[in-house]
Amino acid sequence: MAAVVEEVVVTEVDAPVASDVTFRIRRFIPEFDEEPHWEDYTIALYPTDRVLTALDKIKGELDGTLSFRRSCGHGICGSDAMRINGRNRLACKTLVKDLDIKKPITVEAIKGLPLEKDMIVDMEPFFAAYRQVLPFLIPEGHDPTRERLQSAEDRARFDDTTKCILCAACTTSCPVYWTDGQYFGPAAIVAAHRFIFDSRDSGFEQRLEVLNDKEGVWRCRTTFNCTDACPRGIEVTKAIQEVKRALIFRRV
């Protein structure tokens, strides 16, 4: 019996090619610049490179003065939210192949927070709003000797909002937040949602009082910019609507 020799077909996979990509970056160094201005940098990148890699390269090879925050590089720490081609994205989760490289790619700081330098903004107003919604468990009654148990269904109610990494992409994409910095912003409401809909928490009244404020959830215009911006895929606008409903019916 003749052995059947299978022919092994080796397809040549093209090695990825690097191409020149131009980044148009909004630079601002308070010591030298009166006003922010745009500057172009061209570097060679692979389609699989991230915008963060590009910024690292520009900083390393072209202009050491470029400043931006980054830490994990994997979409977990939430420090590198920026406005890429006009949309709030994490630089470490945006791949070059998903952008149109025929035109310069614009990169600038997130809007609505005080600009400090290049891509760095003062996050304090953002965290101040976060603190105001009491983002921690407020339990009731005696402390149990064991864990506070919860059914899978109860856990599922706020599962989406546990994913927030506090990157501020949502809050700084909100037109209401841009025009007046008083609004709490979507991220703070997401943080509140996380605890309001937790069956183990009983800080409902306290938080609703905060969110019912003149600058609270009622300023939301359901623009959906926040849902579009969230790098964690949280349905931010939906969470805000759920909080509104809880406020109207005074019940979770």
Binding site: R131, E209, N212, K214, G216, W218, R219, L247
Partner: protein, 140 residues
Amino acid sequence: MSAPSIDAPRSFSGRSMNRRNGQRSNFELYSWLFMRISGIVLVFLVLGHLFIMNILDGGVQRINFAFVAGRWASPFWQVWDLTMLWLAMLHGTNGMRTIINDYAERDQTRFWLKMILYVSAGFIILLGTLVVFTFDPNIG
């Protein structure tokens, strides 16, 4: 050298302290609800009004003093028009108030824009209400 003092974690910020002692109001909640409800009611009132005025037998051609006088002789149309006037004016005014809050940056600008808004809205509501109630069909 003394140790640096560290603020207690999880303390309320000044602003939320004020809020807790100060005025709690459901005004924004009710205004939000009002916008949704009046919006739905207005869809029926306004579309109905347009249909009667512009399409139903003869449309605009048949509208004259006698037609209006005849309609307002019935309390039903008086109530219809009055509700439409009030809801439309309050809905529009509240919408404009929201826009002013969003876009006017300086407190002074905000204040004066809102004053103009409220005065003109009040004027139109009063005038309209007055006409609906005191309309005299024998005037012509």
